[in-house]
């Protein structure tokens, strides 16, 4: 298998545009990131920033109205963008990259037994016979903590948390290299949420799987994150390791997003971001966050490049043009940074 620091997924200049009646929607616009083996990368962003489209672009689950779909996706070094649809379906999807879609717990088939559903990917993609596949389903149920006799139940007989676990078992049953989790806990109660996050942490340790976790919830994202990528209006604006990101984010948007999270254990007043994200139909030139940014200056009308700063952190912001001075280049007082 791979060593600890191998890169399992490398995405370069990925673009996914949709054709609509009102014009072309630039949902994913030149995204670059690397995903190290057996680590979890969290993609944080507001609704409509293109994070689900990014997941679908990686898995090539595309609707019919695609206007542009290009870039490079390297899975363990192999460019999977070059594969035709049929070999992609046979070789990659679910076998090497699987996904737990948004609200997966409500996406289970109501007329099939849970066990059969969980075993199905193993039959279809791994060519196992039914008996073998059911055995791996049982193993996966034990991993995710669903009682084995639930194999014979139907989705409506399970609670939300159990259904979410079953959906997770289904994505793991083929032992893929990478699992994409789209908002895995947003529809669940607090205790169930904590349970599922515990489970994901354990899965990451026990299996050699890597995770991409897509979420808008900054607080729960910190439960699993090794790396954080912040997405805004179709672009990735910051990539950082979790430790430094959660103590001092670089991009003004990441900073504002962190400041908007209500805290349970600290008494700081949260703040909100004024205005709205730009339309992806005709995104503004230059920095896409500039209209909502407190630190805007003349340069922001030009497109900012991705700067590599402070070790391996990346940030798409003109403030970092002349090198790294500190979080937000010292424009925020040290006190404000330490409360984060």
């Amino acid at each position: 298998m791979h060593g600890q620091n191998d890169v399992v997924l490398k995405v370069r200049d990925l673009r996914l545009y949709f054709q609509t009646r009102r014009g072309v929607v630039q949902a994913v616009d030149g995204v670059d990131f690397d995903l190290p083996q057996n680590e979890a990368t969290v993609i944080i962003g507001e609704s409509g920033c293109g994070k689900t489209s990014l997941a679908k672009a990686i898995l090539r689950l595309l609707p019919r109205n695609v206007a542009r779909y290009d870039g490079e996706i390297l899975l363990s070094g192999e460019n999977i963008m070059g594969l035709d649809d049929e070999s992609y379906r046979r070789e990659i999807r679910w076998k090497r990259i699987s996904m737990v879609p948004q609200a997966a717990m409500n996406a289970l088939n109501p007329v099939l037994r849970i066990g059969d559903q969980v075993a199905e990917p193993a039959i279809v993609h791994m060519g196992m016979d039914k008996e073998e596949a059911l055995k791996s389903a049982v193993r996966m149920f034990e991993h995710v903590g669903v009682p084995v006799d639930f194999l014979h139940r139907y989705a409506f007989e399970l609670s939300g948390g159990m259904r979410q676990r079953a959906a997770l078992a289904m994505s793991l049953v083929t032992l893929p290299d990478l699992v994409i989790l789209d908002e895995p806990t947003s529809a669940l109660d607090v205790l169930t949420q904590a349970n599922i996050m515990n489970l994901l942490k354990r899965m990451k340790k026990e299996l050699e799987t890597s995770f991409i976790l897509i979420t808008h919830d900054v607080a729960t994202s910190s439960e699993l994150a090794d790396n954080v990528a912040v997405m805004y209006a179709g672009q990735i604006v910051e990539v950082s390791d979790a430790r430094r990101f959660f103590t001092a984010p670089l991009h003004p948007y990441s900073y504002a997003l962190m400041a908007s999270v209500p805290r349970l254990r600290e008494t700081i007043e949260p703040d909100f971001i004024t205005g709205q994200p730009p339309s992806l139909l005709d995104p503004p030139t230059g920095c896409r966050f500039k209209d909502r940014c407190k630190y805007r200056f003349d340069k922001c009308d030009e497109d900012p490049p991705m700067y590599v700063q402070d070790g391996e952190r990346k940030v798409r912001c003109w403030l970092y043009e002349d090198g790294f001075v500190g979080g937000l280049q010292g424009k925020v007082s040290q006190d404000e940074i330490t409360v984060l």
Binding site: A40, E46, K201, S222, A225, L257, S260, L264, I273
Partner: protein
Amino acid sequence: MKSPSFETETAAESNGEPLLQIQDLHIWYELKRFGFGHAGYVRAVDGVTFDLAQGTAIACVGESGCGKSSLMKAIMGLHMPTEGDVVFDDTSLSKTRGDDLRRYRAKIGYIQQDPFGALPPFMTVRQILEEPMIINGVSDKTERMDRIGKVLREVKLTPIADVLPKYPHMLSGGQQQRVVIARAMVMDPKLLVADEPVSMLDASVRVEILRLLRKLQETHNLAVIYITHDLSTVRYFSEYIFVMYAGEIVEFARMDDLLKNPQHPYTLALLEASADPDAKNALTYREVPKGEPPSLVNPPTGCRFHPRCPEFMPGVCDEKVPPSFLTDEEHLVKCWLFE
């Protein structure tokens, strides 16, 4: 057993009576077998008592299925109490019927969880806001338009002329929620019931909506019931808080008191499970009580939390129903640990 009353101390200094009194409220839904035979009850709300004074905000925290929605529906007059009563603004719900019930409901504003689902897609903002006034007999058209202008300014949906002809899908999530709030305010209610008003919204606008609600509450001296499962938002909002589990209130306290000094094992579990953003979270597992909330058809004997409780005392917790113990000024806990 008569449970002690949870009262908010600020209780109407003016006339002595709190605005809303929930008195030993039970909401049970009957289960039918083959459509007519009796097959037991779902005890969604089982003996809930508390008072709410004018101008006070109270937060109701609990997981799905704990009965909080049933409680709210009873307060709004959408369910009739099986036992006990709701007294709102000197009107007893169990004795109210017909037109009186409509007048009762008009004094309560309701803010739904999912703004897009709560707004009819084929009506413009103007029609949506006019509808409650037409139903409740505000017949003067200029008065209706005056009121619409006033609430839209209050929820900061301006310029008004641009907003009025829009359909819900043309607004962003935050703007939709503002329309929902405006609709709840247009009849000038005395009580607002907000059911997870920000859980469907993006993090960046959540705080903005919560502040807006707080401001409305202060300027109109409203009573507000804020229902949520997210403990991290309650501290910015309410004076009092109660935690519900399996149809019962297990802990009731002032907000800061509960956050500083939580007592019931279930409250502790909820607090433990809520995360603040911190990279250290990824390094540890959270302690979560085993199992799942019980069935409300056949709830556990004794304390309803006992099968999941880390402090379970055999022979006590599983046999006797704990009363609410007063552990501190205005702090009530339904747990044998505090006997």
